[in-house]
């Protein structure tokens, strides 16, 4: 077994619980692997999934997010939004093939030094076992994830989830959770697919089969996603090679 690999892990810890828990771990001299680098945020709700992708792009092998327990958030329910976002991020990572194993969300109160240390130890072990993130092979995926996570559609959907499923939607009803999850899943998949395609055609025009090969998507899926992009003036037909049309980012 290769043990020389020392992963780099970035952690976002909320000021009131997880960060305090980490401090307490220090005060208590609890030992855990040294691979983690911490950024303090006021609330875990501040953690944008884009931060995680940025971290992965720039050399981290895993991203750890720590916040207060549900119900204990210093800002009432900021951590519930974190939960929703991290769930969306996990789905995206799974679709991209990078896998949700690269991120971990942990609740740790200011008093939970041991659980904090255990989580860090466990996550570090897990990332070590997974090995380094091969960025050279994941360039397209990471670029696609960034693009997808920046779309107003995903950002709006993840933000509105609790309003419509837990409180009340505009029809004074609760939106069926399964329905919302289907919408979310569909949005996550298509936005990621489109993002990859956009990434490629923004560099040079490509045909459907080339796009399928580069993105790893089925040919027909590429055709459908292109259609979506064309309709929203994000891609356009730009010439032919024989009978094969090429698509480019819209001017």
């Amino acid at each position: 077994m290769e043990t020389s690999f020392q992963p780099k892990i970035l952690a976002f810890l909320c000021n009131w619980c997880a960060y305090a828990g980490a401090d307490l771990a220090g005060v208590s001299r609890l030992q855990y692997p040294p691979n983690i680098r911490v950024i303090r945020t006021m609330c875990s709700g501040r953690v944008d999934p884009l931060f995680a992708i940025r971290a992965l792009k720039e050399g981290f092998d895993g991203v750890f997010v720590g916040g207060c327990h549900i119900g204990d958030c210093h800002y009432q329910d900021g951590n519930v939004y974190t939960l929703k976002r991290m769930d969306m991020l996990a789905r995206l990572l799974d679709i991209s093939g990078i896998g949700r194993k690269r991120i971990r969300l942990v609740w740790a109160s200011a008093a939970e030094a041991q659980p904090y240390a255990d989580s860090v130890t466990d996550f570090t072990a897990s990332i070590t076992a997974s090995g380094p993130l091969d960025r050279s092979r994941q360039t397209l995926a990471l670029a696609g994830l960034s693009r997808a996570l920046a779309t107003p559609r995903l950002r709006w959907l993840v933000g509105i989830d609790r309003q419509v499923t837990e409180r009340s939607n505009v029809y004074h009803e609760k939106t069926d959770t399964a329905h919302f999850q289907r919408v979310m899943q569909e949005a996550v998949e298509t936005e990621y697919h489109k993002a990859m395609i956009q990434e490629i055609i923004s560099q040079a025009p490509a045909n459907v089969r080339e796009l399928a090969e580069k993105t790893g998507l089925p040919v027909y899926t590429v055709s459908l996603r292109l259609n979506d992009l064309e309709r929203n003036a994000q891609a356009e037909l730009r010439g032919h090679e024989g009978r094969t049309p090429r698509f480019a980012a819209a001017a």
Binding site: V164, N169, H179, T190, V219, N227, E230, H240
Partner: protein, 1021 residues
Amino acid sequence: MNLQKTTEKTGSVMVVGAGVAGIQASLDMANAGYFVHLVDNSTSVGGLMAQLDKTFPTNDCAMCVISPFLVEVGRHLNINIISNSEVESLEGQAGAFHATVRNDPRYIDIEKCTACGQCRQICPVTAINEFDCGLDLRKAIYIKYPQAVPLAYAIDRSACIGCGLCEKACLAEAISYADTPRRTVLNVGAVILSMGSSVYDPSGLDTLAYGRHPNIVTSLEFERILSASGPYKGHLMRPYDREIPEKIAWLQCVGSRDINRAGHGYCSSVCCMYAIKQTMIAKEHVSTPLDAAVFYMDMRTYGKDFDKYYTRAKDEKHVRFIRSRIHTIEPLKNGDLNIRYVLESGDVQEETFNMVVLSAGLSPPPSAIALAGRLGIDLNAYHYAQTADIRPVNTSREGIYVCGAFQGPKDIPQSVMEASAAAASATETLADVRWTQTKVRELPAEVDFSGQKPRIGVFVCNCGINIGGVADVPAIREYARSLPHVIHVEDNLFTCSQDTQEKIKQVLVEKGINRVVVASCSPRTHEPLFQETLREAGLNKYLFEMANIRDQNTWVHMASPAKATAKAKDLVRMAVAKAAYIEPLPQVMLDVTNSVLVVGGGVAGMEAALGVARQGYQAWLVERGHQLGGMARQLRSTWQGEPVAPYLSDLIDAVHRHEHIQIFMETQVVHVTGTIGNFTTTLVTQDDEGKEKSTVIPHGAAILATGGHEYAPTEYQYGAHPSVMTHLEFDVAATKQDNRLLSAKLAVFIQCVGSRSAERPYCSRVCCTHSLKSALWLKTINPDVQIFILYRDIRAYGFRESLYQKAREAGVQFIRFESENPPVVSLTPGDPSEPNSSRLSLTVTDHILQRPIILNPDLVVLASAILPNENKKLFEAFKVPANADGFLVEAHAKLRPVDFASEGLFLAGLAHYPKTIDESIAQAKAAVSRTMNIVSKTAIMVGSVIAVVNPERCAVCLTCVRTCPYGIPRIDPEKGHAVIAAVECHGCGVCASECPGKAIALKHFTDEQINAKTDALFQAA
């Protein structure tokens, strides 16, 4: 409005289903004095036709033809469009029905929505785009298509998650989440059902692999692929990988003529033609060669100009037509499709294509079947509305009528024809309550601005952020202030909103504005609205000009705001420049003569005359012969087996007895003058002693139903042997129980006698059905008779296919022959002392066996062609055109199938094209309905955008007479110059541009006005 006792007859009607048939029926009735509730379960009107790319056989763009109708129905004062609604129940009886209509919420206020599309752009939820047949996605908030009427979005509640984002984006405040289903009770005198058709879903047909591969599409999906507004913007590509196909196969009869798998025993009537159309359009769409192959059983191109279309596809466009049965389709890895098929000979073949189109048949929509159940009307075995041939638009429940594809699968012109027929039938019993429920807009008198200088008001629209978010609207507004004659400028968030309209009216009056310019969206959608506002403020509606700074500016130059602002200024400057030259165009009222002249005393003519009379107006029925009845006198029964003779004698009787009908027998039309609303026709009647008597008839409209006759064959020993007879002779013989029929042991029917030939390149439409019907009759008389039908294609369209099935079941044998190799009938001399003892011998080359078959029939029935009656002088008197085959030419092959291009003249029956008796009756009733749009009014308005002649400059060179596509200009010998009748002019302006002496001006588009715009564009800065 007064509350009426609901048991009283009402002058309102309800039309259910707003496809092309429903629209036509609504317009006809609303224009003839009835208030129409047009109910549709979709968010907009237009039906299936709006989804089509082109239409056969003219290859007209479907949207181009239908959209003026959509706009008209959308803005009609006497049509209430009730979209998103279902009829739940219908109580009461004919004349006084109470319909309960459930209006499902669309969550958008139609009055407020400007269809700007901001909501669509931000909506996070996608759904299948049904309009594009699932080839594309739409949002949960959507509009069916850009030209939709009502032009408003709707929320698909089943997809919506209720996030509320659209409300935040909608500056027009049109979103209304609080909408709930509403129930309304409508009092209506009659109901017309026009719920149309859905397209058969082939997923159940396992061998065709539909749904298992994206490159296998239905014909409707292919329409969307071809459509410029479809998923691929009109570029022909296959869905799987967007490759441009090199080879496409069309498979016919998918879900039609298939009892075993599809449960549809009927022929869908339209698929052969639309497949041919698609092959030709597809070839036009690609610059690379495209191989198109159509796999079919019988090519059913039975309509007007259809056979020529088929020939063109085959001979000029090199479309391959392969008579075969499909075995299986097998998708290959690369997206291609392998087709295994069986030829007529039984040989199994294989061929690979890049794409496959399944010519899916029609079937009644489930919602229509359910509604029919609620209304308690009879359906046929295939769940279509059951009708009788002699009452083709009446359902089984009195007061409920049917038209279009819900009555049976049919094409657009037939649907439109029936729609008008249903309108005529539905209103027949409501004639005494005509104009009782209709609304009239009360308007102030028009202010006379003559002699005043232009005082122009410019209203610039922000259209929410659609214009204002791209171009600098305040800058445009201030720029407008600097233009000549402009005395008022303002900008509005939504110029079209109700409150802005009120404000505009006020400011027009207060400031004495006499020309109005609105810079906003397209005049195509909004000009009528603004013109109405002008009119309500006392301005003539032509004192108006629009600058299209949204659809043709900010929407297409979003990325360059500075350029969009500059262009908007240019467009406003151009509009203001023209506005300075525009003048009011008052309309003149012309009295209408409330009677109709009907020429031709056959079934179509008599039905037309009776229809007019029952609507309460005088009909003049002119017949050149000495008896009424025309070709129907010889017909034995309709295709469904209803006897013709009793129907005909009742009809003749009714025509004779009706007080509003005057019949002129042995009479010819010799002279016609006048225009729509006021014709004067001179008739000459031959009396018993051969003396001629002239009568002058004033009438508001005319229907030509001059009929046709059977071709007298010169082939197949016709005339040389008594047992060789035509269809009509067969019918007469059958009625007389003629022994030639009763004792026949071997009867042969020969199809296409005189039809589909070089001389007559059209299909006579009725003969296949007639032969099948006759063969079945022979079999019932004498089950042992052996029958052969020699044919080229069996064209038993629609439910007539059932006769074909029955004939095969009854043991009738079918032998196909090629036109190059027709059967040969010869005579073997018999006993020279006995007359007619010679024997018939017939040789036909069987196409499957590839060898001649010799038969010795004792009866040969010839499916003789139908020819139009010779009426050259009559057609010249009315100045109506006939085609090369002698059939009258309608104004538009699709949407105006009973109108002539010349207004006020209509056609019906065999003079138009061969047709069965039910179709003739429907067309005659349709013609009645069309005349009601004229004669039910006391006066018609004429004028506005028309060409006028300046007599001083006219050199009588006849250029206008030659150039006018409608033949309207004529030289008045007394006045000594050309005249253009205001009532007839269509307003295209061709004459104005051709006139060498510049003696003609097209109002509202004068040289001065057009040049003013051009000058304004180039004299900028």
